[in-house]
Symmetry: D2
Subunit: 89 residues, 4 copies
């Protein structure tokens, strides 16, 4: 499927995020300046948001498209709205 | 369409949000305590997010469903992803 | 106080935001494309976040600084944390 | 300092978040349903936000309070505003 993001690419980004999250903990252990810890933690959260976007991209181009074409819109649309509402919180 | 939120209901919520936003300005004019101003402003933003969710709900159940059924997924999916990415920021 | 943002500037920004929020409602009334409504609504929310930042700026440079200097930190710090936690939601 | 959150408690929460983030990757590797991956990823982000709040709590009760008492407000206030502005994005 031409519009699909490779799973390997998403896994690779997740591994990088894991490394950065480990770094947050090490910074706290090493008594880094609080503001620096906060910026590092935010960087991890931003990376996860970008990964979420890739996952949602694939979901829309596969499951959602297929479900809607089969006339089974309700479940997939309600799931997207639930994700959207949480992303706003 | 049974899943569609009434336009009148969305407009009504927007009018209420306008009233609450006017209240934020009046609080600043009246030198209200900053923290109270911030909470009132946040309440307006939360109300707008709920309205966004209703608008997106209608969009998914109408334009998006129709476009995908016609095999015209790309534009609508990219628009949803753009909205989602912004909602995370 | 040299670091204080003028109240008139904050009020002016709030008036502009009110105009933009009215525009959101008019777009819904005029059956504008949902995605365009969402982007307009987001623009209002972004404007309000910038205003929140100005209000918090003044609060930190006035009330918070004074309270901490008087040794009355707890109330102001807890209020800031409450605002921060909400801003993340 | 009575209001300070224990460093060990923050480190412990970070370790739990690391475990949950590893779980997100395993879910992607195991081809879990996209929506489930998204909810797991959001749970990690929520946990990180709570940790941020604890770090900020300590920062306000220590560095910020001390700096303001010494009349050195500007640097710490500007740092808080920068964190606040990012948290809104």
């Amino acid at each position: 499927m031409k519009n699909k993001i490779e799973k390997a690419s998403i896994i690779n980004r997740l591994k990088i995020a894991e490394g950065h999250l480990k770094k947050v903990r090490e910074m706290v252990e090493d008594k880094a300046y609080c503001i620096d810890v906060l910026h590092q933690s935010r960087a991890v959260q931003s990376a996860l948001k970008e990964i979420d976007s890739l996952v949602l991209h694939n979901h829309l181009y596969t499951c959602v498209t297929q479900a809607i074409k089969k006339g089974q819109s309700k479940k997939v649309i309600d799931e997207i709205l639930a994700v959207f509402n949480k992303s706003q919180k």
